[in-house]
C-alpha cells in the first residue's frame, strides 16, 4: 500500500474542486430524469413496459459507456507527462516510491471522479428492472462492463502519459485511442459480426448482456470479453510502471528529428509572433487522421458486402460525417486550449505583452494560428460532406432527397458555428486554467455537450408533463428546444469568452 500517499494527495486536491461535487449530482440527475421519463412511458402504455425498460436500459448503458470512456482516458492521458514537464516526477523518485506506486496512486485518484459519477447514476438502472424486459443478469453484466471500461481506458491513458512528454502528443494519442478502441472497433465488430473484435474491447461485456445482445447476430463470450480487456489493463499498468522511472528526464524525451525541425523553424522570420511562439499547427496530421477514419469506415462497409451497404448506406454516411465533425471539433478545442496555456505557464505571454503587439495582436495571432491549423482539415471534411450529400441525393433520384440534404447542410452549419465558438472558449479557458487538457475538455463540455444535456432535460420534463406519452406531438417542440439550447449555449459561452479575453487578458496572463 505504498501508493496511498500519492492517492491521498491527489484526492485532497480533487476535493477542493467544486466540479467534483457538481459532476456526480449532474450524472445522477440526468440518469434519474431519463429513467423516470421511460417509467412514465411504460406505465402510461405509450410503449409496452418491457420495450420501455429495454430502451431505457440501452440508452443509459450507451451514454454511460461513452462518457466513462472519454472521461477516463482524457483525465489520465496527461497526468504523468504534466509532472514530467514540471519536473516534479523526479522529486518523487527521491523518496522510497517506485514506478508502480506512482502509477497506481495516480490511477486511483484520477478514476475516483468517474467512479463516483457511475455510482451516482447506477441506481437509475433499477427503473429498467421495475419496467421489465431486463433481468438482474443484464444489470450485473452491464455494471461489470462499465467498471471494466473505466479501468481499461484509464490504464491506457496512464500508459500514454508515461510514454509522451508534451501535452499535445498526450491528448492527440488519447483521442486517437478513444476513437479507435472506443468507437471504431465496436462498430467494425458489429458490422462484421465478429466476436473476436468485440472480445478485445470492454464494450463486448456489455453487448453480451441478453437484452442488449438481441440485435446482434453472435454476441461475444462473456468471460473472454471481461477477462481480455482486464488483463490488457494490468499489462498497461505494468508497462507504464516500467517506463516511468526511465522517462522522467527531459534528455530521455528529446527527438532528434523534432529538434531539427524546430531549429529550421526558428530561422524563418515570423509573419506574426503568436503562431511562431506557440507550437506550430499540424494540419497535415489532422487531415491524415480524417483520411484514415474515412478509409476505415469504407473498408468496414466493403467487407460487410455490397448488399448490406446498399441497404445501410445512410447510416454509414451519417456515421462518417459525425465522426469527421467530432474529430474537427476536438482538434479545435484542443489546439485553442493549448495556445495560451503553455505561454502563460512559461511566462512567454507576459514577455509578448510587453511588445507593441498588445492584447489584440496576441489574440489575432492565436486566431490566425488556429485558422492555419484547421483550414485544410475543415476543407477536407466539407468536401466529404458535399460528396456524401450528392451521393445521397442521387440515391433518392434527386426528388426525395431534400430531407437528407437539409440534414447534411444543418450539420455543416452547426460544425462551422461550433468551430468558431470552440476557438474562443478554448482560448479563454486555456488562458484561465493554464492546463490544456482541462481547457479542451471544459470547452467541449460547454459548447458541444451542455446543449444536448439541456435538451435532454427539457425532453424529460416535457415527457413528465405529458404524462409519459411520447409520440409525434413531442417532435416539433423537442426539435425547437434543441435548436434554442444549441444556439443559447454557443452564443452565451462565445460572448462570455470574448468579453473576458478583451477585458481581463492582462490580468489572466499575469495571474499565478
Amino acid at each position: 500500500m505504498n501508493f496511498l500517499p500519492i492517492a491521498h494527495l491527489e484526492l485532497r486536491r480533487a476535493a477542493r474542486r467544486p466540479m467534483t461535487y457538481y459532476a456526480r449530482c449532474l450524472a445522477g440527475l440526468l440518469a434519474f430524469s431519463t429513467g423516470l421519463a421511460f417509467v412514465f412511458a411504460g406505465f402510461n402504455r405509450t410503449m409496452s413496459a418491457a420495450s420501455a425498460g429495454r430502451a431505457a436500459f440501452g440508452l443509459l448503458a450507451g451514454a454511460a459507456y461513452v462518457l466513462l470512456a472519454a472521461q477516463a482516458i482524457l483525465l489520465t492521458c496527461d497526468c504523468l507527462s504534466l509532472e514530467k514537464r514540471e519536473g516534479t516526477l523526479g522529486l518523487l523518485f527521491l523518496t522510497d516510491l517506485n514506478g508502480f506506486d506512482i502509477v497506481a496512486g495516480k490511477l486511483a485518484a484520477r478514476i475516483s471522479l468517474s467512479f463516483y459519477c457511475l455510482m451516482a447514476a447506477f441506481p437509475a438502472f433499477g427503473f429498467c428492472l421495475i419496467l421489465g424486459g431486463v433481468g438482474l443478469g443484464d444489470l450485473v453484466m452491464v455494471a461489470l462492463g462499465l467498471l471494466n471500461t473505466l479501468f481499461f481506458f484509464a490504464t491506457l491513458g496512464i500508459l500514454i502519459s508515461a510514454c509522451v512528454w508534451r501535452e499535445r502528443a498526450a491528448t492527440t494519442w488519447g483521442g486517437l485511442a478513444l476513437l479507435l478502441l472506443g468507437v471504431l472497433l465496436p462498430i467494425l465488430g458489429l458490422i462484421l459480426n465478429s466476436t473476436a473484435f468485440l472480445a478485445l474491447i470492454p464494450a463486448g461485456a456489455m453487448l453480451a448482456a441478453p437484452s442488449l445482445a438481441a440485435g446482434i447476430g453472435s454476441p461475444p463470450n462473456v468471460a473472454a470479453s471481461l477477462l481480455i480487456p482486464h488483463a490488457l489493463g494490468w499489462l498497461f499498468i505494468g508497462a507504464a510502471s516500467g517506463l516511468v522511472p526511465r522517462s522522467w528526464t527531459p534528455a530521455a524525451n528529446i527527438n532528434p528529428a523534432r529538434r531539427a525541425i524546430a531549429t529550421r523553424q526558428s530561422r524563418t522570420p515570423p509573419h506574426h509572433p503568436t503562431p511562431w511562439v506557440t507550437e506550430p499547427a499540424k494540419p497535415l496530421l489532422t487531415t491524415a487522421l480524417l483520411i484514415i477514419i474515412c478509409a476505415a469506415i469504407l473498408a468496414g462497409a466493403l467487407l460487410a458486402g455490397p448488399s448490406w451497404l446498399a441497404v445501410q448506406w445512410g447510416q454509414v454516411a451519417l456515421l462518417t460525417i459525425l465522426l469527421l465533425h467530432s474529430v474537427l471539433k476536438y482538434q479545435a478545442a484542443s489546439q485553442a486550449g493549448r495556445m495560451l496555456a503553455g505561454q502563460r505557464r512559461s511566462g512567454e505571454l507576459e514577455l509578448l505583452l510587453t511588445t507593441p503587439y498588445g492584447e489584440a495582436g496576441v489574440l489575432r495571432g492565436c486566431l490566425l494560428g488556429l485558422k492555419r491549423g484547421l483550414f485544410w482539415p475543415t476543407l477536407f471534411a466539407l468536401g466529404v460532406d458535399l460528396a456524401l450529400l450528392l451521393f445521397g441525393w442521387w440515391k433518392a433520384w434527386f426528388g426525395n432527397g431534400q430531407a437528407w440534404a437539409a440534414m447534411v447542410v444543418a450539420e455543416v452549419v452547426w460544425l462551422l458555428v461550433n468551430l468558431y465558438s470552440l476557438s474562443w472558449v478554448g482560448l479563454f479557458l486555456g488562458l484561465k486554467l493554464a492546463n490544456p487538457a482541462r481547457a479542451a475538455s471544459q470547452a467541449i463540455f460547454y459548447v458541444v455537450l451542455l446543449p444536448w444535456l439541456l435538451a435532454m432535460a427539457f425532453a424529460a420534463l416535457a415527457a413528465l408533463l405529458a404524462g409519459g406519452r411520447f409520440g409525434p406531438d413531442l417532435g416539433l417542440p423537442g426539435a425547437g428546444m434543441l435548436v434554442i439550447s444549441l444556439v443559447f449555449c454557443n452564443s452565451l459561452f462565445t460572448g462570455w469568452a470574448v468579453n473576458e479575453l478583451r477585458d481581463n487578458f492582462r490580468s489572466w496572463a499575469a495571474h499565478s
Binding site: A466, D473, L476, P477, V487, F488, T494, G495, W496, R502
Partner: protein, 156 residues
Amino acid sequence: MKHLLPSSGLPAPVSADRVRLIRRSMRCFVFGLMGAVPLLGLGMACLALLLGRQVAQETGEPVRTAGVNGCAAAFFALAAALLCFDQTSLVLALAILLSALQGYLLFREYRRTEPAQWNPARHLVWWGAGLALAGLNLSSIIILLGLWSWIRNFGS
C-alpha cells in the same frame, strides 16, 4: 515637497479603467443589438444585461430595476391566466403594452439616475439593456405561445 512624492508622478489609474468602461459599454450595446433577435439572441441578451449591471456597479450608478421586473412578472402571470381562456390576441396586445411600459420605465430611470463616475458611453449601456430586455420579452412570449399551442394540441 509634496509634488516630489512618487505617487503624484504616476498616471491616475482611473483613465485605464475608463477605457475599459467605455469598451464594455460599447460591447453591451453590440450584445444587446444581437440579443434583440428573438430566440437566437437569448444568450447575447443575458450577456448584455450582465454587462450593463457590471458597468452600473463600476460607475456607481444606482439603477432600480424593480419596476421593470415587476411589470414583466405581472405580464407573464396575466398572460398565463389569459391563455387559459384562449385569449391569444389579448396576450399579444398586452405584450406590446409591456414593451412600451418597460421602455418608458427604462427611459425614466436613465433620466433620473446620475453615475458617480462619468461614462461618455452611458447611453449605449441603456440602449443595450433596453434592446436585450425587448429580445428577452419577445423570446419569452414566443416560447409561452408555443408551449400553449402544444399543450392545446396535445390535449385535443
